[in-house]
Homo-oligomer: 292 residues x 2
């Protein structure tokens, strides 16, 4: 009865759980297959497989009249299980590279051997890494790692880049506050500022702060600003993992995030931009001085 689910099925299942949480759907809410498929950009096939999987786990219930599935449990009880094996491979390579375990140039078969990957998996992970800009295909055979955020210097570079970018994004003519989105990240930041910053994991802290900054910049409705920030954050994530963040300072920064959100919600965009500029300057100094 319980086939081993495919990676895609697991991923879709995880994202359905995320969807339920985002929409705060209460138990009994119908989960429409076509809607989910369109939202997750896949066909109904993996959606149906994922729903069966979630039904086995008791997360969703089979609707009696007419079939289909409904939410079974309240949002608060949902676990976060990602089970993303692609992500693991990616992080292992990133980690090895940062530790200097991987040479500057590697061949695809070398990666396949070292990490016990199929050719398709190698293709997938290389696609992702090159998309993030820290590996490049050579003209002949092989790939070459590009300088990452390893050095202190390039880390500071990334902050000055954001300093040029983010405040400018708020001053875009197309800037319009997405109140719902800002409310969500504001709530997250408030929670952090009021103590959660001391208990939450490194990963989670970074993810939320990232979500805040990206939600703000997303209001600019300018793809170039949004994409650029996302690219920088993808790289930052890899080394923030390995840092020990001073949590008392983090709490202060989260409070500032709340303030920025408030300014935006009050329509004081210019003030928010200026506040954001100062905020980034401060963080930059903290980070780059903190660990030397």
């Amino acid at each position: 009865m319980e086939q081993t689910p495919t990676p895609l099925t697991r991923q879709v299942a995880a994202r359905i759980v995320g969807y339920i949480r985002e929409t705060a759907a209460e138990p009994g809410t119908r989960l429409v297959e076509r809607t989910l498929a369109a939202h997750l950009r896949v066909s109904r096939s993996p959606v149906r497989a994922a729903l069966r999987l979630l039904a086995d786990e008791g997360v969703v219930a089979v609707a009696e009249p007419g079939g289909g599935h409904t939410v079974a449990r309240p949002v608060t009880e949902l676990t976060v299980e990602t089970g993303d094996e692609d992500e693991e491979q990616y992080l292992r390579i990133a980690s090895d590279r940062l530790d200097g375990e991987l040479p500057d140039r590697v061949s695809e078969s070398e990666l396949a051997r070292r990490y016990a990957l199929t050719p398709a998996q190698v293709t997938a992970v290389l696609r992702r890494i090159s998309g993030e800009g820290w590996i490049e295909r050579l003209p002949g055979y092989g790939w070459e790692f590009q300088p990452m955020l390893t050095s202190q210097e390039s880390y500071e570079d990334s902050y000055r880049f954001r300093l040029a970018l983010e405040p400018a994004a708020l001053l875009e003519p197309g800037f319009a506050v997405d109140e719902a989105a800002i409310e969500v990240v504001r709530a997250q930041q408030l929670e952090l500022a009021e103590g959660a910053a001391h208990t939450v994991s490194n990963t989670e802290l970074f993810a939320r702060n990232r979500a805040f900054h990206e939600a703000v910049v997303a209001c600019s409705h300018n793809t170039f600003f949004i994409d650029s920030l996302r690219r920088v954050d993808n790289l930052r994530r890899l080394i923030e993992y390995r840092r020990t963040l001073p949590r008392d300072r983090a709490a202060v920064r989260c409070r500032e995030h709340v303030d920025i959100a408030d300014l935006l919600l009050a329509g004081r965009t210019a003030d928010a931009a200026e506040y954001l500029r100062r905020h980034l300057s401060t963080v930059s100094v903290e980070k780059t001085a903190g660990t030397g």
Copy 2:
């Protein structure tokens, strides 16, 4: 005697010609295989194949004592033959997409059929396009085109992005003018300003202007600024191809480029940044008003 050269061999040959031109090597100059290989990031194998090809074409000569190759002709006589078939495939797809001939979602086999490509070629071109950010792999099968610079709106977005980026790059603490590089692009711009802007091809005009802006930003020595600009330019290139540029205005802009280069060479970086800001504002208005 004359085997059909591989794509890589042709590409390497073309880049060797470019190398000769860049270094302004005179006839008789020795072309060291290992140096070329390191410079082009390939092994000596394709370099040797390319040199044999160029020897057949008479571009390089076989050195008599001790073997090896030397430059045969003066730089001015060199042809520009690219013969880059990967580039052609890429441009065909870009063109079709801009014309609305390609649907939002495509499968790899669909592309292979439509353009008569081998699977490896499909992989290569998708790698490139996704690197430039206008296609994305879907979670399941298939790829989805992302909004490009098709719309007038997104085109304006790209200019405002550069407006936030480029002047800020000049104010980077690590900014240091690469005099040699700036001299080169200054000379190109001067030539354009003094008439060549009216005779040169669309492609060439765009390439030179791009080279100018990127050379300036490269002096910031901040990867994030440099990469971001390159990404925007990759996209701009695709639609600038199809524009009819008003050449009299282009000449004026090239003159401004020369002025900016002069300010930089004189060490007046702040003035250059301000000039660049005004320059970009003007260009933005011209472009976005010109063609409607």
